[in-house]
């Protein structure tokens, strides 16, 4: 019976384990240094805000692992010896594998800012980060102000978390408008206003220069690059993106770049060693997707795929149309297909925004053929299945706008905006 060892008990590693179990009776061991059981990283914010407790973030009850004979080991892998197929742990012990899946996820980026390793300065990625947050920012007496550096999805979540405990937040964003490397102008600007409405001190065009320490090695303030202004604070959140967590592979035979290099079968350069999830870097990218995809569902899909390969049914990783979702404070966001911050060459944007400034959509389409390329929607839920179909059918912009109702996924009785959107569309047509 061969032994599959998986490093990392996140969504990708756990999905791989579950599917291998369904397909075979191989011995399976999952290793993680973070927590004994799989929990949902995406729910970290809800624990801090008091919506849930840690145990509610576990998608499977604790008996699940034993029942499916998946062994769990809580330990940190120091290095991998691929020639003898052995893992070495920090505790000094080791483990033999026949097949190895690397699913070690990401770690927060730190760009060499002075003071980035002080107490009270951290990212938001792991359970330990959450525990530290409770130490340095439990309430607005211990933490009189927090500064967040980096305007992305985790940054805005961290801001919402801290605000839920009435901690004043200064949010430093390098870009001219929130997340405008990804979002078109109309949407990004709507979010700027939404963020400010939630009493978050949003500073656009602002870079961090330095984090200043007090006499105990704890953060005291930050200094801003552009103005030299010093802002006193008790906590600094570093949320300027994440990168693959693969430091422990440095002196091994496994080829790494920014992440663990894999081919379309998620195989590394070493036979029987695979990499999936946030830490995998595709040598050959898939469509418009980036070589490293740090999102939940791609981790899950890679887990599903690698399980097939390991169980003798070799499968390539072939994700379908891009989609994703997030929530910015009170505004839900979904995207299907590709909408770029600026329309791609030969492409155009159709944009509609509700007067209440919390709902809008942007559709990217081809200028000449009118082919529908993708949609961003804010404050309106849409049906994944329908857009997946429309994208495969290469529907036109007009078709999509006319049939938008079919794609609506808002709860029953919600006000719908298809008519307004259609009117806006007609007006724009005639004004061209």
């Amino acid at each position: 019976m061969s032994h599959v060892v998986i490093i990392g008990n996140g969504i990708s590693g756990v999905t791989a384990a579950r599917h291998i179990r369904k397909l075979s009776d191989k011995r399976i061991t999952i290793i993680s240094s973070e927590t004994k059981h799989f929990f949902s990283r995406t729910a970290l914010m809800y624990i801090y805000m008091g919506h849930m407790k840690y145990e509610h973030t576990k998608p499977y009850e604790d008996w699940f692992w034993k029942k499916n004979s998946i062994e769990l080991k809580q330990a940190y892998v120091k290095t991998v010896d691929t020639s003898s197929k052995t893992l070495h742990f920090t505790e000094g012990d080791s483990l033999q594998y026949d097949q190895l899946i690397i699913a070690t996820g990401s770690k927060p980026n730190k760009f060499g800012w002075p003071g980035q390793d002080l107490k009270g300065v951290q990212g938001l990625y792991s359970k330990q980060d959450l525990d530290n947050l409770e130490v340095y920012a439990p309430n607005n007496k211990v933490c009189k102000r927090a500064v967040i550096v980096g305007g992305g999805l985790i940054g805005i979540e961290l801001a919402e978390m801290l605000r839920s405990r009435n901690i004043p937040v200064t949010f430093l964003v390098r870009e001219t408008s929130f997340w405008n490397g990804v979002l078109p102008k109309g949407e990004s600007e709507m979010l700027n206003r939404h963020i400010k409405n939630h009493h978050i001190d949003l500073r656009l065009n602002t870079n961090l220069k330095e984090i200043v320490s007090d006499e105990n090695g704890k953060v005291k303030s930050v200094i801003i690059e552009e103005t030299g202004e010093e802002t006193p604070c008790d906590f600094v959140g570093l949320t300027a993106g994440v990168s693959p967590n693969i430091g422990f592979l440095k002196n091994t035979e496994i080829t790494i770049g920014r992440g663990v290099k894999v081919n379309r079968f998620l195989e590394t350069n070493i036979p029987n060693v695979y990499a999936i999830g946030d830490c995998a870097e595709q040598q050959e990218t898939v469509g418009e997707r980036s070589p490293i995809e740090a999102v939940w569902y791609t981790g899950r899909m890679m887990g599903e795929t690698v399980a097939q390969t390991i169980c003798g049914n070799k499968f390539a990783y072939k994700p379908g149309y891009w989609f994703n979702s997030a929530k910015f404070l009170d505004i839900e966001y979904q995207t299907y297909g590709w909408v770029f911050a600026k329309p791609k060459e030969q492409h155009n944007h159709f944009h509609w925004k509700h007067p209440d400034d919390t709902k809008c959509i942007t559709i990217e389409y081809h200028k000449l053929t009118n082919e529908f390329k993708g949609i961003n929607t804010f404050g309106i839920r849409m049906r994944h299945e329908v857009f997946d179909k429309w994208l495969s059918e290469k529907r036109s912009l007009e078709y999509v706008i006319k049939h938008l109702k079919k794609a609506n996924f808002d709860p029953e009785f919600f006000k719908s905006f298809e008519k307004e959107i259609f009117t806006t569309y007609n007006k724009q047509l005639t004004s061209i």
């Binding site: 949902s40 805000m49 009850e61 939940w296």
Partner: protein, 524 residues
């Protein structure tokens, strides 16, 4: 967790004032309970209820209107009241005590015995009762009034909390309306019609058998019959509501049309109980217990009602056109019909549950036959029908639905009764699972397994377990409250009525993945 629970935010000074108002209102009631004699009872009661109402309204305004529209679950697990803290336990104890007194020691509330006038708390409600029905209050009138006030004021709070969600709003207005009109006012007005020659039993029209397990007891049936056409119409309505109206509405909309839009138990759970919905147990163990318990109660109530009706039909055979033999045959035929239909059309869908159903079915049928052949007229396997009725009333009607069901809100969550005990929910759920257009659709591959949906499902359904597989949720216990859909941060869940085909869609691999892999795994 290694860390102690963080403190909840302090409440604002406006909220403190609001709380004080409410507490003063309750204090007046407790003074009455302690037999303080108020000179003007009408005004005192009005003042007390107004203070309570005003307190909740002010509190809710301050808590929600100052914040932006959206999900408001901050601090839920930090607050003592909503996280089984000291306040939660205290509230649980007070409520439980209240229910015990209400059911078993009503004289402690001041109910006048043997025609004596009321005293204490009950007498405080005399003026209101007189105004509505023309009769002095009973402990049930006190309870009904407080119950209605609770649904109305906490309904208001709920409306503010979910003011971004029209499904929640309309549903809540519906339960508030049904409680006020159907459960509270109409029966009181109906009582006005009564005279020596004409006597309608107290009838909350939306309260359907087997939830009101007593609806077909002899005294009520006699009253109905003696009240001429109106009475007969009501009796027929009672039969139609369970055998015709219920199946049709459940087929079209799922059991939610009743459980979270109409029902009074559901109404209280959704409004006053909203702060406790996350306390329901989501474990697989709890689900197993639920299925045994709720179906056992159903079997119990069917047997009990049959035995009770059978007994009075045999006492006074001349009085009713239905004979006991025909009655038993009808019951047996109906159950056999249901059983056959399920076995023929739904067996595949319903492996394990069908077995439960089968067991329940056989117990009932065997007992029915036993009733006919092995018992004297009044006894069923040596048990008096009356004993059955009394023990059902005590164990299920009082202890389970009242003391545990509501008294334990802050400990076990707000739908313990609806989930583990209610025989009406069992019937509706059975139908929802097998013959209904209702389901909760999962939105492709968007789920991030965060667990908000499962946490806030008051029925303890592990919604996430389905959503993260891309599978629709078709569960007999789902009351369609819509909260899972509301709290989902990724827009994954939608309550819908659509065709029966493809309603249940077990998937191995989700939308968005390689089409070949989806075909390979999902079509097998």
């Amino acid at each position: 967790m290694s860390l102690a629970k963080p403190d909840a935010q302090d409440i604002s000074s406006k909220q403190k004032i609001a709380l004080t108002l409410g507490v003063v209102g309750l204090f007046i009631l407790s003074l009455a309970l302690l037999n303080v004699d108020f000179s003007n009872r009408g005004w005192t009661l009005t003042a007390s209820l107004l203070l309570i109402t005003e307190g909740v309204i002010l509190f809710a305004n301050d808590a929600y209107l100052k914040k932006s529209k959206g999900i408001k679950n901050d601090d839920v697990w930090f607050k003592s009241l909503s996280s089984r803290g000291l306040l939660g336990w205290l509230t649980g104890i007070v409520l439980t005590t209240f229910y015990i007194v209400l059911y078993f020691y009503p004289h402690l509330l001041g109910l006048g015995k043997d025609g004596n006038p009321n005293t204490g708390l009950v007498s405080l409600f005399d003026p209101l009762s007189n105004l509505l029905s023309g009769n002095p209050a009973s402990q049930w009138f006190v309870y009904g009034t407080l119950y209605t006030v609770a649904i109305l004021v906490f309904g208001y709070k709920f409306l503010l909390k979910y003011r971004h969600n029209r499904y929640e709003q309309i549903r809540t207005i519906s339960v508030m309306f049904f409680q006020l009109a159907f459960a509270f006012l109409i029966p009181e007005f109906m009582a006005r019609l009564n005279s020596d020659s004409f006597n309608l039993p107290y009838y909350d029209l939306k309260n359907i058998w087997p939830l009101n397990y007593y609806n077909f007891e002899q005294y009520r049936v006699d009253d109905f019959i003696s009240a001429g056409n109106i009475g007969l119409a009501l009796l027929i309505f009672g039969v139609i509501s369970i055998f015709v109206i219920t199946p049709i509405l459940t087929y079209k909309y799922g059991k939610r049309w009743y459980c979270s839009w109409v029902c009074g138990c559901g109404g209280l759970a959704e409004t006053a109980g909203d702060s406790f919905r996350h306390l329901s147990d989501k474990s697989l163990k709890a689900w197993k217990l639920e299925r045994w318990l709720v179906h056992t109660v159903l079997v119990f109530v069917v047997l009990m009602t049959t035995a009770v009706i059978y007994t009075y039909l045999s006492y006074d055979p001349e009085k009713y056109w239905l004979t006991k033999g025909i009655f038993l045959a009808l019951v047996a035929a109906f159950l056999t019909l249901i059983f056959t239909l399920v076995m023929v059309f739904k067996r595949k869908e319903f492996g394990k549950d069908a077995q439960y159903g089968a067991i329940g079915y056989f117990v009932v049928i065997i007992t029915l036959i036993g009733m006919h052949y092995f018992s004297s007229d009044t006894k069923l396997f040596l048990l008096e029908a009356e004993t059955l009725r009394a023990s059902y009333g005590f164990m299920i009607g009082s202890i389970f639905s009242g003391v545990i069901g509501t008294g334990f809100y802050p400990i076990l969550g707000n739908r313990v009764w609806c989930r583990f005990g209610c025989p009406m929910a069992a019937i509706l759920g059975f139908q929802q699972r097998l013959f209904s257009k209702f389901r909760i659709t999962t939105n492709g591959g968007q789920c991030i397994s965060c667990g908000n949906c499962s946490s806030y499902c008051e029925m303890g359904i592990d919604v996430r377990a389905y959503a993260q597989k891309g599978e629709n949720i078709v569960r007999s216990s789902c009351v369609g409250c819509g909260i899972c859909s509301a709290v989902c941060p990724r827009g994954v869940l939608k309550l819908e009525n659509d065709s029966m085909k493809g309603r249940i869609n077990p998937t191995e691999v989700l939308l968005g993945n390689d089409v070949d892999l989806m075909d390979l795994l999902n079509q097998k």
